[in-house]
Symmetry: C2
Subunit: 134 residues, 2 copies
Amino acid sequence: MALTIGEMGKATNTKIETIRYYEKIGLLPKPARTSSNYRDYGQAELGRLSFIRRSRDLGFSLDKVRALLGVSDEKSCNCAGIDRIASQHLLEVDRKIADLRALRRELKAVIDSCDGGTVAECRIIEALGPVAST
Amino acid sequence: MALTIGEMGKATNTKIETIRYYEKIGLLPKPARTSSNYRDYGQAELGRLSFIRRSRDLGFSLDKVRALLGVSDEKSCNCAGIDRIASQHLLEVDRKIADLRALRRELKAVIDSCDGGTVAECRIIEALGPVAST
DNA sequence: TATGAGGCCTGTAGCAACTACAGGGTCAAG
DNA sequence: CTTGACCCTGTAGTTGCTACAGGCCTCATA
């Protein structure tokens, strides 16, 4: 039941320093301490940290994670708040995917414009810099 | 022909501070100065800055941009180096797109699991934190 | 000629979200 | 009783900028 910070880290794939950082910025509560001043975590903290890490993996900023936690901390709150944050994030993800796809096309064009010869014959540099005129 | 830092910025959609920052970290050379100590740029610098910005837009890190510039600075070098960097970057972009798509699926699942009721009935929190047992 | 708005200068400090020390205390095994 | 792995605090570094503060310079207009 009692967990050290290292065990928390292993369980959630989080560096120790990151956990302390989350505590410092108030995402994680200050935990109990053992007699030797070690942090002493329970399941609740583990759950909270899992939630944070999972949200981070999904690309939520720490600020959004804080908002999500805030919403979920008020027990009686309806989950429309969470839904709103997540839906908005979905839009951002879609936009990011579209951007990356456009970028991919351009990158491919850049690579294809290189025939393996020397820079003098290669168009990559010009393809990236709209300089041309001197 | 002569450009102020502000004109450079406008031409490449770059903030003045960013240009000075590129100079500080050695991506841009220290330019000539006017009698009143203003930076005095020419077409070569404009081209270089364009290249940097374009590469950044394509998601290359400043370190990779530096590598690209290094390769292109050696006139006789074949462009295989550039091609290698760009191809590797393309792989990263593809990976990122795949990740985002997986994320999108998960986000969608999270959103769908919310029926607009209260948190008590909503599965979003549990969906994100693998805690369950207490 | 003066004056006001805008541009430029240097230098430092701040942002996110960590990560990496330095310099120490603690604990369990052999 | 010592060794090595863990933990503690606190500070400074990372990337790629961005935002001041405090001060010149320049140009158009009154």
